[in-house]
């Protein structure tokens, strides 16, 4: 299979909430030193913590290369605002933004907004998929060269290169075009945690990066194949999808644990399979799974970020680099470049080009 694809690594920097920027900045810089593809910052309206997208916007000018992927919920928010904020994160980070689309399933979250009651996950993920869809359309709604600053005709933009999206979803509609011009990456990277069935469907249709859960390489390969097949069924190129195994990691206090290994089940707050062992054990597991072609990479959630991220970067990642399994620097500048994903052309520009030829 694709054992030779490059290895992608990402890390979650959330945990017990901090209310100052310094904490998150230190962790993001640490991940950047390890040449990781991106950091994620989880978020929810239901538990203490700052707005994740805002935190990563605060981190952006103080970092250079690391991808920045906040969780953004799509249930009680406005799709137009969501697409604008993610596009703006891409502008302020010069092409390093992604977003992890998520849903708010609880009645407690619904009461914070008072606009509607809680809905089943299937309906919420259907809506999340629509939010991802309309966001992509809004990001495309300005062609890249729409700003012309043509002093001769007095036009700042060429309005033929701006497009209405006229999106009609089940729970919302958006007319467009975007107010934010097309972001540096064309479309910021869409990440979806496809642990649950309904999320997997949305991921196969709309995600660039899919986080999955597995306890064996065989299981990971099977889920990855399933996601890729579903993506292909939606007319997408499965090769333009990155599937990362989510692991919650506890690197403990030892170099290597007496019995390193995986446990399944939602043991702690993090998502994914629970790994306990030392940094070397984790490197061995990553190398083994990746060599087996089970995944494009790993999304690691350290149970104690201050302690474990340092061990991941200076232990696990350093070892993988030493074994030439992971890069030692970011060869590109954007998150899409780190992930080996092409910068998409605007669908409206493409349609206009075709219309012109006909």
């Amino acid at each position: 299979m694709s054992a030779r694809t490059s290895l992608h690594l990402a890390a979650e920097i959330g945990g017990p909430p901090h209310y100052d920027a310094g904490h998150y900045l230190r962790l993001a810089r640490l991940a950047e030193d390890g040449a990781l593809d991106y950091v994620t910052l989880g978020d929810s309206f239901a538990r203490p913590g700052l707005d994740a997208l805002a935190v990563l916007a605060r981190v952006a000018p103080a970092t250079d290369r690391i991808g920045l992927v906040p969780t953004v919920t799509t249930t009680h928010t406005e799709p137009f605002h969501v697409s604008s904020a993610v596009a703006t994160l891409d502008w302020v980070s010069r092409g390093r933004a992604g977003w992890s689309a998520d849903v708010s399933t609880t009645e407690a979250e619904a009461r914070l907004f008072g606009r509607r009651t809680a809905a089943p996950p299937a309906a919420l993920w259907q809506e999340a998929g629509e939010v991802a869809d309309v966001s992509g359309r809004l990001w495309d709604s300005w062609e890249d060269d729409a700003e012309i600053r043509d002093t001769a005709t007095g036009r700042f933009i060429d309005r033929d290169k701006l497009h209405y999206v006229d999106f009609e979803g089940a729970t919302f509609s958006v007319r467009g075009p975007a107010i934010v011009p097309r972001p540096p990456q064309g479309r910021p990277v869409t990440v979806i945690d496809a642990t649950t069935g309904p999320a997997r469907e949305a991921a196969a249709r709309h995600a660039d990066v899919v986080h999955i859960r597995a306890t064996t390489p065989e299981q990971a390969a099977a889920v990855r194949d399933e996601v890729r097949a579903k993506a292909a069924a939606h007319g997408r190129d499965p090769g333009a999808l990155r599937v990362l195994v989510a692991l919650t990691v506890d690197l403990g206090d030892m170099e290597t644990a007496p019995e390193p290994g995986l446990e399944s089940g939602p043991r702690l707050a993090g998502r994914g399979t629970y790994f306990r062992g030392g940094p070397v054990d984790l490197a061995d597991l990553i190398a083994q799974w990746h060599r087996a072609g089970a995944a494009d990479g790993f999304h690691l959630t350290p149970i104690t970020p201050e302690r474990d991220l340092e061990r991941i970067v200076n232990g696990t990642v350093a070892l993988l680099q030493h074994r030439s399994l992971f890069r030692t620097f970011h060869p590109g500048g954007t998150l899409r470049e780190h992930l080996g994903l092409v910068r998409p052309a605007s669908r409206y520009a493409a349609a206009r080009a075709v219309a012109k030829e006909v």
């Binding site: 309206f45 916007a57 502008w91 007095g154 934010v180």
Partner: protein
């Protein structure tokens, strides 16, 4: 005196055709203007909001508010490259919900260590509403009802954590919002982020008197400024507030030159650039309410009547009676022998302070001394270098005379503005 910097974007006061004009989107432009404002010891940096591209004659307007990043995200990034400057975001109360916005504002206040401000605006515009779940619009009266309850609800959320950091459940039950639960962010460093209200309608003034820390007004004559100032400050007592609790800051433009004459000449040049031939026709179309593309901007005014209740321009409020405006334009054009474009230049551009640095500093100081303003929000016509002259040449004079600070004395925006810390109402 208080000073703020408005990031201009692209609109009819911007001169984007100037070779010094750079991106209105790229972060480097925001960073440069914000750093200039902080170098000038300004109170805050102010961002407008865009929620729908304006339309003209049924098509996207090609030179007015074309492209803007999202305010709060830009300001969080600016918090990384500034230390003291206040960071003010315009965010609509019509197309947002209190829980989410209160959380985003509290987050900015934490990440900037107490420098956040919210410019509350409202919309009665179904055109803009087409981008949002609610779709439709609120009528004019309901807009302020919702805004007032929105601000009150946000303050309840900010107060739902005790000052020593304990989260307590909140419940708000009102005509606009019925929400309950727990807020995810501790009380912001400023207690409450600074609240700004923009606009000077009667409802707007009352809302500002009841709930705002700063009112962002239009600039008029010294006389008009004094009347406005007296009126707004007089409204505060009814809400148990002191005159110093609400700062009045008109949005103004400044053009300087070595001499007053040189500044006047530069100002005239800027006006000609602002009102390009295309812009002159577009502005006239907004008044006449009809397509005037066949007319010569350097020729006479169109000899036709305006179309009342026209929707030729979408996303911008049409002000005044078009028949009265056209009659006034005709009178000016005939009296002074002005072409269409010259008439637009004569009637539509409001340049506030023009003169040598010394003249401008004296006039600004007079506005504050005569109680016509507590300070100013400067709207430069160039991005991002439009405040360089002011900061380098006018600010030192204001500092020399003691009218403006030479150093920040506190670290929060409230401390710059001399606003009291809000009392915790747990």
């Amino acid at each position: 005196m208080h000073l703020a910097a408005h990031f201009p974007g692209v609109n009819n006061t911007t001169v984007w055709a100037d070779p010094r004009s750079r991106s209105q989107i790229d972060f480097s432009s925001f960073e440069q203007l914000a750093r200039t404002a902080e170098r000038g010891k300004f109170d805050f940096f102010f961002l407008a909001e865009g929620l729908r591209l304006r339309e003209h004659n049924g098509r996207v307007h090609d030179l007015d508010v074309v492209g803007r990043p999202e305010s709060l995200t830009v300001l969080n990034a600016l918090a990384a490259v500034t230390d003291r400057l206040g960071l003010a975001a315009t965010v609509n109360a019509t197309f947002n919900e209190p829980y989410e916005l209160a959380r985003r504002l509290a987050t900015l206040d934490h990440l900037s260590a107490g420098r956040a401000a919210w410019n509350v605006v409202t919309s009665s515009d179904a055109f803009t509403g087409e981008n949002f779940r609610r779709g439709g619009y609120l009528d004019r009266a309901d807009r302020y009802t919702r805004a007032a309850e929105f601000v009150a609800t946000a303050r309840e959320l900010w107060d739902s954590w005790t000052p020593d950091g304990t989260s307590r459940p909140f419940a708000h039950e009102g005509p606009q919002f019925a929400i309950s639960g727990e807020f995810t962010v501790p009380r912001p460093p400023q207690g409450h982020p600074v609240v700004i209200q923009a606009g000077d309608s009667d409802e707007g003034r009352e809302f500002a008197a009841s709930a705002a820390d700063v009112i962002f007004t239009r600039h008029g004559t010294l006389e008009a400024g004094r009347d406005f100032y007296a009126d707004v400050k007089a409204r505060l007592a009814a809400y148990g507030r002191e005159p110093g609790d609400l700062k009045i800051m008109p949005g103004v433009t400044v053009v300087t030159g070595d001499t007053d004459a040189e500044a006047q000449e530069r100002a005239a040049g800027i006006r000609r650039q602002q009102v390009s031939p295309q812009n002159a026709i577009l502005t006239a179309e907004q008044i006449w309410g009809t397509d005037l593309s066949a007319y010569d901007p350097d020729g006479p005014l169109p000899a036709i009547d305006p179309v009342p209740d026209s929707e030729i321009t979408q996303g911008r409020v049409r002000h005044g009676d078009p028949f009265a405006i056209v009659a006034r334009w005709r009178a000016i054009s005939e009296a002074k022998g002005l072409s269409l474009r010259q008439t637009v230049i004569e009637t539509t551009t409001r340049q506030s302070f023009i003169g040598s640095p010394r003249t401008v500093a004296a006039e600004l100081t007079a506005f504050v001394d005569e109680r016509a303003a507590d300070g100013f929000i400067l709207v430069p016509h160039l991005t991002p270098s439009g405040l360089d002259d002011f900061v380098d040449r006018v600010v030192p004079l204001l500092q020399e005379s003691g009218a403006f600070r030479t150093e920040y004395t506190g670290s929060t925006l409230r401390s710059h503005l001399g606003l009291p810390e809000p009392v915790w109402k747990g």
